[in-house]
């Protein structure tokens, strides 16, 4: 590989990471704003920037919307005192926040977020790495994210983070199974006899040019969504954090930028999870069920990315909306639901679609 193409790839990777981080920052803002609105409050509406904030109407409107708040939040994480308690296991304690964030940033490489149709009518997916084993890669790497949490709980060497770490382990194992099993019917559907698609995510999106998979396989989508809530540690499954029970859970002993990394990692997981859900079940960049996107050239590319981001943003809103609606499940309820409800449901779902696809194939 020569130096220029290396630079181009580096620039693309940087661009995607920057966009993802911005998305995370504004997901935090959205969380604060939506929670405020749901509770009849106003939310952050004071932070402003010197020049932009003083533009008569727009500046005031943006300030009221809290658009500049993420800047202040980020600066706060940078400049607060970084306390490292004496009782921690230092190397692992420092490693844990990075280990929580890195998997989230790595999974974004295989998520296709748009398409570019050349004048010859050839479809080029907009993705950093169009792997043939895309979904395997995502499942493998994203579940590494739990190591950051477990390591943080263990290296903190105090009781509440430890409990948080234990819960994270148990929860991840229980819901990873249901998640994987709920995805199998999707790929059986895409790889139905006579087609040739592999585990590629772009192929899943292209397979949804007609109806979306959420309409064909609502149960798979539902199980995947519930498992996704559990995997991203969001309420009603925020066992590892559970601030009313465990102080701060796994990040109790963390402060300043290290805590900021955990915080960003949580939202990065949400954004990536929403993106994966969009790709698998919501037709990726196709605007409506049954209406594939066929615009050519740069305009088509921009609109595909726009449609994709809109869907991801709506899903992130769903995550926030559910968080501020539901109370937390008890730990044993979470376990019971994972093993005794979701797992059998996912297996039944898998068998049903396996039989259905086989029957459909023999009819042909």
């Amino acid at each position: 590989m020569d130096f220029t193409s290396f630079l181009i790839i580096l620039a693309q990777a940087l661009a995607v990471v920057v966009v993802l981080m911005t998305f995370c920052a504004y997901a935090v803002l959205a969380e604060r704003k939506v929670s405020a609105w749901i509770q009849g409050r106003v939310g952050p509406n004071r932070t402003t920037l010197p020049v932009i904030g003083s533009i008569p109407v727009i500046g005031t409107f943006l300030t009221r919307l809290g658009i500049f708040q993420p800047v202040a939040d980020g600066l706060k994480f940078l400049f607060k005192e970084d306390v490292t308690p004496a009782h921690v296991n230092r190397p692992y304690y420092i490693l844990a926040p990075a280990l929580a964030l890195v998997p989230a940033l790595v999974t974004v490489t295989v998520v296709p977020f748009g398409q570019y149709i050349t004048e010859a009518g050839e479809m080029v997916p907009l993705v950093l790495a169009d792997l043939d084993i895309g979904i395997l890669f995502i499942l493998a790497v994203s579940s590494l994210g739990v190591y950051g949490i477990v390591l943080a709980g263990w290296a903190s060497n105090s009781k509440y983070p430890f409990l948080g770490g234990i819960r994270a382990t148990a929860q991840m194992i229980s819901y990873e199974l249901a998640m994987g099993l709920s995805l199998l019917p999707v790929f059986m559907w895409i790889n139905a006899p006579g087609t040739d698609a592999a585990l590629n995510l772009t192929a899943v999106v292209q397979g949804q040019q007609g109806w979306w998979l959420v309409l064909w396989q609502p149960l798979s989508a539902f199980i995947f969504l519930v498992a996704l809530f559990a995997e991203t540690n969001r309420l009603p499954f925020d066992m590892p954090e559970a601030e009313t029970e465990l102080v701060g859970g796994f990040h109790t002993e963390y402060s300043s930028f290290k805590f900021g990394l955990f915080f960003v990692a949580e939202y990065a997981h949400i954004v990536i999870g929403s993106a994966v859900f969009t790709v698998l079940f919501l037709g990726g960049w196709h605007p409506l069920p049954g209406v594939p996107l066929q615009l050519e050239g740069i305009l088509g590319a921009i609109s595909s990315v726009g449609i994709f981001t809109t869907k991801v943003a709506l899903l992130v809103f769903l995550f926030i909306w559910v968080r501020w609606t539901l109370p937390r499940f008890r730990y044993d309820q979470v376990m019971r639901m994972g093993w005794k409800v979701l797992l059998p449901l996912a297996i039944g779902n898998l068998i049903f679609y396996a039989l259905a696809i086989a029957a459909f194939d023999s009819l042909k």
């Binding site: 609105w37 749901i38 009849g40 409050r41 106003v42 909306w321 559910v322 501020w324 609606t325 539901l326």
Partner: protein, 178 residues
């Protein structure tokens, strides 16, 4: 009388949690668009009730005379001993020379004050009032010791029903007939 609440067993649909979750989400969605109740504090101020007990202040009567005669009853009654008064004489040639006394200095330590309002209740001259100021800030302990000037500045002038000392002066002028 004991009330027996009949608990119906959950139906199959209710056991899936889903109808309740959707119902809850409908409620939160409704609240998302409902008008907000936040009071934008420094710009908007809360409406205080008439009998609100804020910061204790000294007031003047409509003639501009300080009403406190430094009887020190408030200093005596103050439960946390926040009030300190240095009594002083009124100069002979002053217009209010007929009034008994006036405070040389008056101090309320706002770090001690418990806003109980006993000073207002005990004051025979209606000179001290807990008015509507509720936000007290400062950078040092000294800034929280409100001295006489500050107390009069905060208190301002309140309407007076009695003009006690004016009546006394008139009565003395008429020779204190009874």
């Amino acid at each position: 009388m004991a009330l027996l609440v009949q608990r119906k067993p959950l139906s199959w649909l209710e056991k899936t949690y889903l109808p309740q979750i959707l119902g809850g989400m409908r409620i939160t969605l409704k609240h998302l668009f409902a008008p907000k109740v936040t009071l934008q504090y420094p710009e908007e101020r809360p409406v205080l009730p008439e009998n609100y007990r804020g910061v204790p202040t000294l007031v003047k009567d409509p003639n501009g005379r300080e009403k406190c005669v430094s009887c020190q009853l408030c200093e005596f009654v103050c439960p946390p001993k926040a009030i300190r008064i240095w009594p002083g004489e009124i100069p002979e040639n002053a217009e209010t020379a007929h009034v008994e006394k006036a405070p040389d200095d008056f101090e309320i330590d706002m770090l001690r004050c418990i806003y109980c309002g006993l000073c207002q209740e005990v004051c025979p001259e209606e000179a001290i009032f807990l008015q509507d100021i509720f936000s007290v800030t400062g950078y040092s302990r000294d800034e929280f010791k409100f001295r006489k000037n500050k107390l009069y500045e905060l208190g301002g002038t309140l309407p007076d029903k009695h003009y006690k000392w004016d009546k006394k002066k008139e009565a003395a002028f008429r020779g204190n007939e009874h």
